[in-house]
């Protein structure tokens, strides 16, 4: 996880005080601009920036900029060894001299940003909101801290908060910069199950790999599970045992190698590393010392970045002290009954989402509709609703983050939004696009109030399409969808496994589909209104609509297709919750899944041994044949889980089919 710079509690100029662990800076009494606070982390290479917002009772009188490490904190930012932008006068000060003026003034509540580019010719740029207002050469050498001077008449008269990249930015100062704490540089380790040296043409060239991996290395796991089944765990962890009598890994075991990325490849002795097949990716958890000659490297899921928070903004103390630091809600696609959060004293300005929403379809105050334009307007770049009259509340809104008229997000749009929020690029957008074009569904809506992670978002979004994700050998997050294996034409089959090539008996287990249901709910409500939350006027709020608002979802569909007798349970099961917004999407998807279970389905577990050259992946469709269980003539199946040992060539594969 990246950590970001804050204001340092020491050194700090007289009359200034850091609060909230350094995230905010306040005046501790009547003070002039001749004092400064600076960041705890300095940067000397790369492009870095941060944004600040001022609030308080006093007039905005502040200077934002960067200083060198030896600059005095009892001088204004921009004095000797600094560059400062006086937000209240629009002047830029370099080493004590005003070098530019006439910049736009920054008022309280507006975002001011500074960005420095330290590689090559050093430059500094200032931003107001999203707009670049000034840039110039940066005449400072060495490592730089961001710094701030505040002036006020009383304690707490002026405060500012810094965003060094932990939240979404308004300008390139954070979007292209950020003031993160640099990660410790680690020396890579090159290990193998045998001694190996990469070729001169490889990257890295002539790199010896030490053959110290014991016990056939580890098993790489890739598996998917779909909503009609038991949700299977996705064990993306592993342990690699190492023979290390020479102490090669001693320093690494004691040092800070945590969180280093790990890449597993299958190379052929004598061949180049470029020809090596990717097996899997991990993140190093730790290195355990078992004894003088043995260590074990504990690896974990490379996609643990999915556990980062989805929210990219919090309510700052400058908005409302009561909701300070609370994450702002996430809206992706078309979402019904989004609760709005009052951010001013009378509740006439209400916050919707941490990013701008594209359209608002309906706004209801206690269930009574408020008319757009007449009663409310979307303001602040699309994140807030401003009301002409104070609503009583609760106020809910139907909104879309994508487009007009409650347009839902396609799978690709939704996932792009999710992964953008956690800054993840290693995912297969093509997989999502293919599912969108195959299904033709309008899409989904997703809402998260507090504390949601990307992993939770995927777990809620993907089942709507009967899709699950799995990590491929290059660590790319891929998507697999449950489809009827028999729908795939003969020529497109990925494999044809005859029983004669299996290393062990084929094990068959019936698919009892414990999660299957004939009903699917759509249009989930982001919040449910209690009956006391709604007006009693049956004209304005008819009972049917009242019921929609009070329930967990607005509607449900029923699939009447034939089901194999084994799946009778599905007749009475509770509806499965989908994130679809359109009734026809839900109907089509449910009809499709019910049709899959018109015949009894089974899981088949097969074993292949000593065949390191084989590679199976979840979602592949192929054919297996076996003398028993009616498989003599062959049957199309879909791969649902693969456990592979690249060293011993042992594959445990689970298939699903009729």
């Amino acid at each position: 996880m990246t950590t970001f710079a804050r204001f340092a509690a020491s050194p700090i100029g007289v009359g200034l005080l850091v609060e909230d662990g350094g995230l905010s800076l306040a005046t501790s009494g009547s003070t002039s601009l001749q004092h400064a606070a600076r960041s705890d982390v300095a940067q000397s290479v790369g492009t870095h920036g941060c944004e600040v917002v001022l609030w308080g009772e006093d007039d905005a009188q502040a200077t934002l900029g960067v200083v060198i490490a030896t600059a005095s904190v009892d001088a204004e930012v921009g004095n000797a060894g600094g560059v400062g932008w006086r937000l209240h006068t629009g002047q830029v000060v370099v080493n004590g001299a005003v070098v530019a003026s006439g910049l736009p003034l920054v008022k309280k509540g507006e975002i001011a940003g500074v960005r420095v580019s330290l590689s090559g010719t050093r430059t500094i740029a200032f931003y107001r909101g999203a707009v670049l207002v000034h840039s110039r050469a940066l005449p400072l050498a060495g490592s730089l801290h961001f710094a701030m001077s505040l002036a006020s008449t009383e304690a707490g008269g002026l405060r500012c908060i810094v965003n060094a990249g932990q939240w979404q930015g308004a300008s390139d100062a954070v979007l292209q910069g950020g003031w993160e704490v640099p990660g410790a540089s680690i020396t890579p380790l090159w290990l193998g199950a045998e001694h190996y040296m990469s070729a001169t043409t490889d990257t890295p060239a002539n790199q010896p790999f030490v053959g110290c991996v014991a016990d056939n290395g580890l098993d790489a796991v890739a598996s998917v599970s779909f909503w009609p089944w038991d949700s299977g765990s996705r064990a993306g962890t592993g342990t690699l045992r190492i023979d290390d009598a020479d102490g090669l890994l001693d320093a690494a075991a004691l040092g800070d190698m945590r969180d280093a990325p790990v890449r597993l490849r299958l190379a052929t002795q004598g061949a180049t590393l470029a020809d090596a097949a990717p097996i899997s990716r991990y993140v190093l958890e730790r290195i355990d010392i078992e004894g003088d000659g043995r260590k074990s490297i504990v690896l974990r899921d490379p996609h643990d970045d999915l556990d980062s928070a989805l929210h990219q903004a919090v309510f700052l103390p400058s908005i409302n002290d009561q909701i300070a630091w609370q994450p702002q809600p996430v809206v992706i696609g078309a979402v019904r009954s989004v609760p709005t959060i009052p951010v001013n004293s009378d509740g006439s300005v209400r916050w919707v989402s941490d990013a701008a929403v594209a359209s608002v379809a309906r706004v209801l105050d206690r269930g009574a509709e408020i008319i757009a334009g007449d009663g409310y307007a979307l303001v602040a770049g699309g994140q807030q609703l401003a009301f002409d009259a104070q609503p009583v509340g609760p106020v809910i809104a139907d909104v879309s983050s994508v487009g007009p008229a409650m347009q839902p997000a396609t799978l690709q749009q939704a996932l792009r939004d999710v992964f953008r929020r956690v800054r993840k690029s290693a995912w297969a957008a093509d997989d999502a696009a293919a599912i969108d074009s195959t299904t033709g569904y309008a899409g989904i809506g997703y809402y998260a109030g507090e504390g949601a992670t990307a992993r939770q978002a995927l777990a809620e979004i993907l089942p709507s399409y009967c899709v699950d994700w799995w990590p491929d050998g290059d660590g790319v997050l891929r998507l697999a969808r449950l489809i009827d294996p028999d729908s795939v034409p003969e020529v497109d089959l990925a494999f044809n496994l005859d029983w004669r090539v299996l290393a062990g008996d084929l094990i068959v287990k019936p698919d009892l589909a414990p999660g299957l249901s004939r009903r699917m709910a759509y249009q989930p409500n982001a919040t449910q209104l209690a009956s006391g939350d709604m007006i009693t006027d049956l004209e304005q709020l008819p009972p049917s609509e009242r019921q929609q608002l009070a329930g967990a979802y607005r509607g449900q569909v029923y699939a009447g297709g034939p089901l194999a007798p084994r799946y009778n349970r599905a007749e009475a099961a509770a509806p499965v919750l989908s994130r679809f917004d359109k009734r026809e999407d839900a109907q089509a998807e449910l009809d499709r899944v019910i049709a899959l279970y018109a015949v009894p389905r089974h899981f088949y577990s097969g074993l292949l041994a000593c065949q390191p050259e084989l590679a199976f992946r979840p979602g592949q469709i192929g054919r297996i044949s076996y003398p028993r269980y009616g498989l003599a003539g062959g049957r199309n199946v879909i791969v649902t889980s693969v456990i592979t040992n690249p060293v011993s060539g042992r594959h445990s594969i689970r298939f699903w089919g009729a």
């Binding site: 045998e194 001169t200 010896p208 004669r500 062990g504």
Partner: protein, 265 residues
């Protein structure tokens, strides 16, 4: 039978006339880990240096990737010598790299028993770029073996039968195992420092303890008449596992040895 043992302590590898990568692999006891030599102008010289003057008798370059037939020339450096010009006997003046059955190439040298103690060696290879797995420089002692010795090739490959009787195999690197019984010998050779260099059976056991690398040259011709073909096909670099020294009666003793190869790539 010639047993190589006791590679000098504190040995430092280097290369002259070319660039070398991962030179530590020359002396790490693993011929499978290679050093890469490149950029030599038609020739490259591998060098080993150590502090204490030691009487070297067995030298080998294992896991070579230069073509079979490439000429290797071995010269020495005695204490006080300025360079590596000291000519060595045996086949040191010129030995071609020999293709072995395991697909690797190697060059073995056996130096005469009266070779002067050395503090350095130079192996000049008549090619400018190649990989080499191990550069061995060892003391050695002559022992007599009983005629019933055996060599086998151990194949740790993993195989599995499929249900249809098919055979799938994960190839692993095979290695040789030499089992040899020493000709029963007298107390002086066993505990009396009666072998060349003041060594005896008991001392040799200690020199091979802890899987320290040894070389077993079971048939190599004789001094002055080295049988190059037999030397290269039978010489084995690896570990030696000494059996118990058994008392046969009187002042006579017996001992068996097992040598296991550490193979190159």
């Amino acid at each position: 039978m010639l047993i190589g043992f006791g590679q000098p302590a504190g040995i430092v590898p280097s290369v002259s006339g070319a660039a070398g990568i991962n030179l530590a692999a020359l002396i790490d006891g693993a011929p499978a880990s290679v050093a890469r030599i490149s950029g030599g102008a038609g020739t490259a010289s591998l060098r080993l240096d150590w502090a204490t003057a030691t009487k070297i008798r067995v030298v080998a370059a294992l896991g070579l990737t230069c073509p079979a037939g490439t000429i290797l020339t071995l010269t020495g450096k005695r204490a006080g010598d300025a360079g590596y010009a000291h000519a060595l006997g045996g086949n040191a003046a010129s030995q071609a790299a020999v293709q072995l059955v395991d697909g690797s190439r190697a060059a073995w040298f056996v130096l005469p028993a009266d070779t002067a103690p050395l503090v350095g060696l130079q192996l000049q290879v008549a090619t400018g770029g190649f990989d080499v797995g191990e550069l061995v420089a060892m003391q050695a002692v002559e022992l007599n073996a009983e005629p019933s010795w055996t060599v086998e090739r151990v194949d740790p490959s993993e195989s599995a039968r499929t249900l249809g009787g098919g055979l799938n195999t994960v190839q692993r690197r095979s290695y040789r195992r030499l089992k040899v019984a020493l000709t029963p010998s007298h107390l002086t050779e066993v505990w009396g420092a009666g072998l060349a260099g003041g060594l005896d059976w008991d001392g040799l056991v200690m020199h091979s303890a802890g899987d320290r690398r040894v070389a077993a040259l079971v048939r190599w011709g004789q001094e002055g008449a080295i049988n190059v073909a037999e030397l290269h096909r039978q010489a084995l670099y690896g570990r030696g596992m000494a059996g118990a020294i058994g008392h046969l009666g009187g002042n006579h003793f017996e001992q068996g040895w097992t040598f296991e190869e550490v193979p190159p790539v």
